[in-house]
Symmetry: D2
């Protein structure tokens, strides 16, 4: 039977396409910046290919693809050009909805890591149909949990590697699907709202939120347009889910961190009775207040739901105190707090992070919550 | 085979007994004041009976019993004397652990409602063995959810009746079992921490917390010793679970209430944008702060966990603001907030209250939470 | 509020009633002969009572009742007259569907055991409405599994007592509900299709199948009409579920039985390699063939589904060999074999019998099976 | 960081390796003939690659890989040479257990389809450790169900394509894992024990069972050694699970098939009342008897469990009649029949075949069954 004859189209030339994830001005080739970032098309025709260019050093990108909403494949991409067949020999006349997306979070630790979509190759008998509109838009902001860390891998695995992260087994993706929502993911393992798990004060999400992808550093940032100011007007979510706090609370139990940039030592402290040092707790709260303010500035109508608890919930009263402070200061009541179900021994994945069952449970709870809260 | 010969013992004369639920000074006959209130014995012998006296008007008490931890029976008790066989013809030499308890909440709306245990009748070959000690103690304070309202009955049932309430299908009982904990239940359907679902300002749990059973009014209160000051020193819980707020938030959507006692009108208001009137919200918060203060006064070492959310969680930020206020005022950090899983269409019971599956889910989440929080 | 004024009606005088379970000619008082036997009415009015007369020696009957399809209560009935309130103070104008039924199997071991329904007392404002017709009819024939043995009680309980058996937690009742079917239950713990678990050749269900209730012996049989020939024409099932074989296979591992009636010794033998002695296996098969013939004689149109396996399935090939033999002999193809899900450590109940979860799993599988097989 | 220096070893030179699936004499490159066929190694070192050569026409092979028992990736392989990275940058000193296997069944419809493993490339610091021995051995023989057809893909998908089949989401793989068993898979979608779903008499598994891989036809058969007689002595299973019958029963409802090889018409017939034509039913039974005889000849000690029912079970009495016939003829009692749980609307996958949940349920039931049956 052999291969069908296909026609290549630049990704930026395809009008009937849905793009997942934040985009800057660079559209050709199109950078997939975050996990969950990807493209979706509805096509007739028997064969479809995607052309990519990737680079990486330590942390190679992984990608996944699905057909008609069902997971089909997942693989590692080593540096170079790639031509991946998304399907072949399918019944030509039946429309196929195909999604291709990045599994690996924006990789701050790998200066050259990138996934660039150049174009699609569709067989000559096929055409790009309109992609059905998503009813809702949700932005997820988080840490390793939202990066799907440990969603792949054995419970015993402890290496910190790209292959264990995903968008495919991820409460955010699942929630968006359950709600028929378009979504953006902005997350980074180890980062917090105030500082990283290891007390590194630079590892806070607010500091990068306003760039297209502030998590990407170094060499390729310019090529990707990652350091441009993000055009918030281009995509206004109905709901922003902030799932941060897990690393902030961890920092209280970790050794001090010496910041190589300023030579100073940073440490969130605990009192002798095990409670949080009030001064340090207030630093977290100030960061939360400021972040809420920043989120509101850029997303004036979005409901902001702080959703926390998949790796225990001991920062509840700190987060809510800050939310209260923000609410008092601003009168903004379009915010809420929701606790996600904790991960248990039965639902845990690799290196003590949420596994598939935990992500599924969180997605079920969160989608129920948003349905009620948003009258969806 | 007929009936075994049995020997009656006054309940107050039985030394090897565990008593569930608050007790005042009245011990003979022994009043079972709350749902979950009951007695537990471990006995040899083939037959065991319990002798009771009950009264009621509209809301007849229900009781349930279990053997070796498993539910066996549940029935209505109409006014009068009762002699209920808890088991018979069992292998005499094997110890049986038997629990008998009240299903119906303390019934504020039925002035004569009572359940009095007079004694047990054990067959002549049996004896009362020591009841194994419970490792932990938990006090649950709540509303209709903690009264198990709707835990029995069809989803379509809407009458407000005693038979739909329980301790047997109840997250509090289940949680206590999962944690091998003794427990007290203090709850009342329709009540809140500040006011009732219908804006009735009298229907707040704090106002009755310091009595043995302040929920019992009228005729029989004295007989039961219900209005005595409760001796908190007699039973100090490791954890207090407060599951209140569901009726407080409901009151904001209900018509005004005219209090027959003072002729005044009470109403928790909403703003035009649907948010809570700040003044009224602060009334709830003040009630929470005061209640936490009261709880701490009487339970200096208990961890206080406000656990809320089985019928949605829209009062989260109000509750936590109050908890923060309390924490700031007092420096007391031995408190926490935990959100219980919401009831869904799949887990709902009678008249839109949590059903068995919802109670089971809540118990699983709450017991996991307390294990981690308490290092249990 | 007190008690409503009620009007008593003989059970045989109530036209709008559904009767569950086999009935003979005795209708007043109406004997409930099997577990699951009971009555169902739909009534308006606020209060409903049932009047009963029971007797027993060792094995006291238990009963259960439900309102609008939901379990409400379950209790032991000791010998005597009983007046049980099924509901009170309900909204008078709303129709209530009420079922009252026997939990305890026909008790062959207790010669005087009986449950007689004398009548119902409905409040003066109520009336008996038509009971909606069930769409289907299923007869369940079985052993301890179908008698719900161990469906109540702790996993550690090993006494053989009435309180551990039920129709309320029973795959047969659950299956009938899932299929909106009327049902009959004919079952006896320890009995088989050929012999009892202990090799007692008298303990086979076919020997009693043609009587109204051949399981009831002795003193009260006449009073109950239990030994009359059953009028099969009065109730022709769409499906007969035979769940027998578990005790027949057990007998191969048990010591010989000396039948006190004929002084002879009975023993189903195994070969040295652990396989079944062929001669003895053929005795079981002959009993199955004969039983199928008997079932067909009395139920010419019913689909006969042999449904087996809730306590392992090692008699599969014996049962199906006999079914094949029957099919070859008669050309009757309106029979089928279905394996029920095995009970596991997670789903087991008291004394190693199926617990609630096992019954629920069996009901789900069986109702799915019957939907497909019967085009329901 | 770049790439580690690696050392290539021919697959046939690696002593510390476990091979899944049937092998003939061809070992270099090593053909992976069936779904589930693959290799497993335990290695130290930071990087591991596998070198492959594949070919195909219409039905391209898919492969999957796992680390320490957890699924990591799955991808399509188009014709050519492949070098796939199985992991990189892992902690060198910690042993990693890696499995790489074919997802696609032996593809009878694609004459050139093949997957050949040439060798592994392990980084210079790594070494091949001993692979822990599997405790048990199971051979699975089946049709599309055992080929995992529909285990990937959306419920709405109806194309018959390689990408929808798998060993990764497959009850056979799951069962083997639950039992810590090595396993062989021999299966083909659409085939039966007597004939194919479409009445094609050539599509019966027994006709190919004795070859290494009789399913592979044409051009590449010789290269793969597929048509050699299989050396049964090389791998004697403890249990043979035969999951056949689903296509045999389907053929009774399908139009006649004209065999291009002999020009004759084949059709399994039904009687007017919907029952199976006895003559045709006996053809199926004869095929079963013959297949059991063949299995026993080659596997004298294996327990043979016919396990059937994941897509309904209407051939039960036909299969068991044949098993009985075989047992009568031979006296061989080391066989059993087990019904697998049916697939429901909740557990279905693509084109009406079992989905992940159905495979998981079947694996749970089957592993429980084998534990009991085999005293495992």
């Amino acid at each position: 039977m052999g291969m069908s004859e296909v026609i290549y189209t630049d990704i930026s030339e395809i009008k009937n396409i849905h793009i997942f994830g934040r985009m800057g001005k660079v559209r050709q080739p199109m950078p997939l910046l975050f996990n969950g970032s990807g493209i979706e098309v509805v096509v007739t025709g028997s064969d479809l290919w995607i052309d990519l260019e990737t680079d990486s050093d330590f942390h190679e990108p992984w990608v996944a693809y699905e057909i008609n909403g069902a997971f089909i494949g997942r693989q590692m991409l080593l540096p170079g050009e790639h031509r991946i067949c998304l399907f072949r020999n399918m019944e030509s006349s039946i429309p196929k909805r195909v999604r291709f997306y990045r599994e690996l979070q924006a990789m701050g630790d790998d200066g050259v890591c990138k996934v660039m979509v150049k174009g699609l190759e569709l067989d000559v008998n096929g055409s790009f149909l309109e992609v059905p509109k998503y009813e809702r838009k949700i932005e997820f902001i988080g840490d390793s949990i939202t990066s799907g860390e440990g969603s792949y891998g054995a419970v015993t695995d402890t290496d910190w590697l790209a292959m264990y992260m995903s968008a495919s087994v991820n409460y955010a993706t699942m929630t968006a699907k359950l709600l028929n929502a378009d979504y953006h993911l902005i997350s980074q393992g180890g980062w917090g709202v105030f500082c990283g798990w290891d007390n590194d004060p630079r590892h806070n999400i607010p500091s990068v939120y306003e760039k297209v992808c502030g998590l990407c550093g170094g060499a390729v940032a310019k090529e990707l347009g990652a350091h441009e100011e993000y055009d918030f007007a281009s995509w206004q979510p109905d709901v922003i889910v902030v799932n941060l706090g897990t690393n902030d609370i961890t920092s209280f139990n970790q050794p001090p961190f010496v910041n190589p940039e300023d030579g100073q030592t940073y440490k969130q402290r605990k009192n002798e009775d095990g409670s949080l040092n009030r001064e340090d707790e207030l630093k977290v709260e100030k960061a939360i207040v400021n972040f809420l303010t920043m989120l509101r500035k850029h997303n004036p109508k979005a409901h902001i739901a702080w959703c926390y608890g998949m790796l225990f919930c001991d920062l509840d009263l700190t987060i809510t105190e800050a939310m209260t402070e923000y609410r008092r200061n601003t009168g903004d009541t379009n915010i809420s707090f929701f606790q996600l179900p904790d991960t248990t021994m039965e639902t845990v994945g690799a290196h003590m992070h949420p596994g598939r069952a935990s992500h599924e449970g969180a997605a079920k709870a969160l989608s129920n919550y948003l349905r009620t809260m948003m009258n969806w």
